[in-house]
């Protein structure tokens, strides 16, 4: 992308966010690292925010921008629900997100994934990247960590997964992204939304699978050392 910008600090969308539809609903997932430059400001953030009872949004990019957009959308959706007399649809929520993102495209730096369930169309995922395009997709990935997941999803994604298959896919994907993206880390949070309701899950870093060149964790070296003699190198 050719920007003529004289901003010296690098822009990074420090996050990995995922939304996946399955046979009956959606699974949203995210890492939990919020970084300011190289410092990890919050190692246990919750990037999956609630918009209504049945619609959630995964936030990436600027923390401030994504929070203010989801706060406004929550506010508008609340009023909309009262006026409508029934739960808002996922499409309406996603379009509200798009409106704010598009009309303020010069100011905002946030990519969002809106996911939820409604009685008309079932589980749906909408991506709203930078610029305010809205794209309905069977699955969506976003944030800086997503660069490492395009190939993974091209290979691993399939239509008509069960709830558990979908959640496993999301967990695996976020953990793969965390392994390679410095701006992603911490725990994996997932939110499952279907006709029965919403389930939040939490998978701490030490419970995630290990990938290439990663080692099992221990409390201390001393726990591993069998004999007192040191290794000769």
């Amino acid at each position: 992308m050719d920007h003529n910008t004289d901003i010296s600090a690098p822009h990074s969308m420090g996050t990995t966010i995922i939304g996946v539809t399955y046979n009956g609903g959606v699974v949203l997932g995210a890492d939990s690292r919020t970084s300011t430059g190289v410092y990890v400001a919050n190692r246990a953030s919750d990037k999956i925010s609630q918009l209504t009872d049945n619609v959630y949004v995964c936030r990436s990019g600027s923390a401030a921008d994504s929070q203010i957009v989801s706060d406004y959308v929550r506010y508008f959706l609340h009023q909309h629900t009262i006026q409508l007399g029934q739960p808002a649809t996922v499409k309406v929520a996603a379009n509200l997100v798009r409106l704010l993102s598009y009309n303020n495209k010069n100011f905002l730096e946030t990519g969002l994934i809106v996911g939820g369930w409604d009685k008309y169309e079932g589980g749906q995922i909408y991506g709203v990247p930078l610029g305010g395009t809205i794209v309905q997709q069977p699955f969506a990935i976003g944030g800086s960590g997503s660069s490492y997941l395009y190939g993974f999803f091209d290979q691993a994604w399939k239509e008509g997964m069960t709830k558990d298959e979908a959640e496993d896919l999301v967990k695996k994907a976020v953990s793969l992204a965390i392994a390679r993206d410095g701006a992603s880390g911490g725990v994996v949070r997932t939110v499952i939304i279907n006709s029965e309701g919403v389930t939040r899950n939490f998978y701490p870093g030490d419970q995630l699978p290990l990938w290439h060149e990663e080692l099992e964790s221990h409390n201390s070296l001393l726990d591993i050392l069998g004999a007192p003699e040191p290794m000769s190198i």
Binding site: F107, P129, L130, V135
Partner: protein, 231 residues
């Protein structure tokens, strides 16, 4: 040079569509575009529909920033709605829609806040075929065949050579496919998932997406340095 605040002008596109190619044929207009939405150099979205019917008589194809294209479709929904509400038997044809869009694009350009698109408009009304183009700085014109972006450099020379007034539907499709194949070989942001659509006096059809075969079976490709080895 800009007399408006930096924050009030669009600086650069984010999610972009690549070329659109279109030509007039015997019964109307044929238009083609791939279904890619690029995010910089990443081929991020592969199912974006960039060809859309507008009202009864027009087909709109867009390249450039997808969010701006989606906004343009909303403007056109409103335009067509108000047109229908007159309920007077008249309906906006492709020439009128082109004129409307040209005004929109040019006025945004004058405010230094362009809609970052190149648009192709085609249609048939009362037996008259129309094919035109308008881009983000308001340049607009009509022609027998048009293209946006790299299509101008790669597809139009082919069309200048091989287009004629009396192309059948089959010949038109084959010609468009030839252009799209070249774009697939030579345009970095092309994606092998293509939609062709046609509009005639009677109706407008956007055909389902398909992929084109590509050809790599050449001895010069298998052995590019064969000539060198002979020395």
């Amino acid at each position: 040079m800009a007399t408006v605040a930096e924050s009030e002008r669009t600086l650069y596109p984010y999610v972009t569509g690549s070329s659109v190619v279109a030509l007039k044929y015997k019964d109307g207009i044929l238009m083609a575009a791939d279904m890619g939405g690029s995010y910089g150099s990443t081929l991020r979205y592969k199912s974006i529909e960039r060809l859309k019917p507008v009202g009864k008589h027009t087909l709109l194809g867009a390249s450039g920033e997808i969010s701006d294209f989606q906004e343009i479709l909303r403007y056109l929904d409103e335009l067509i709605l108000y047109d229908n509400m007159w309920d007077d038997g008249n309906s906006l044809g492709p020439k009128e829609v082109h004129s409307y869009l040209t005004r929109v694009m040019y006025n945004r350009r004058n405010k230094f806040n362009p809609l970052w698109n190149s648009l192709v408009l085609g249609g048939v009304k009362n037996g008259q075929k129309y094919l035109g183009m308008v881009n983000m700085i308001g340049i607009n014109f009509e022609d027998n065949h048009v293209a946006t972006g790299l299509g101008n450099h790669l597809a139009r020379p082919i069309l200048r050579d091989e287009w004629n007034e009396n192309l059948t539907f089959e010949e038109g499709v084959k010609l468009l496919e030839k252009c799209m194949r070249v774009l697939l070989y030579r345009d970095r942001s092309a994606v092998n998932k293509i939609q062709i659509s046609k509009i005639t006096e009677e109706d407008c059809t956007v055909f389902p997406p398909f992929s084109l075969k590509t050809y790599w079976d050449f001895s010069a490709f298998k052995n590019p340095t064969a000539a060198v080895d002979l020395i």
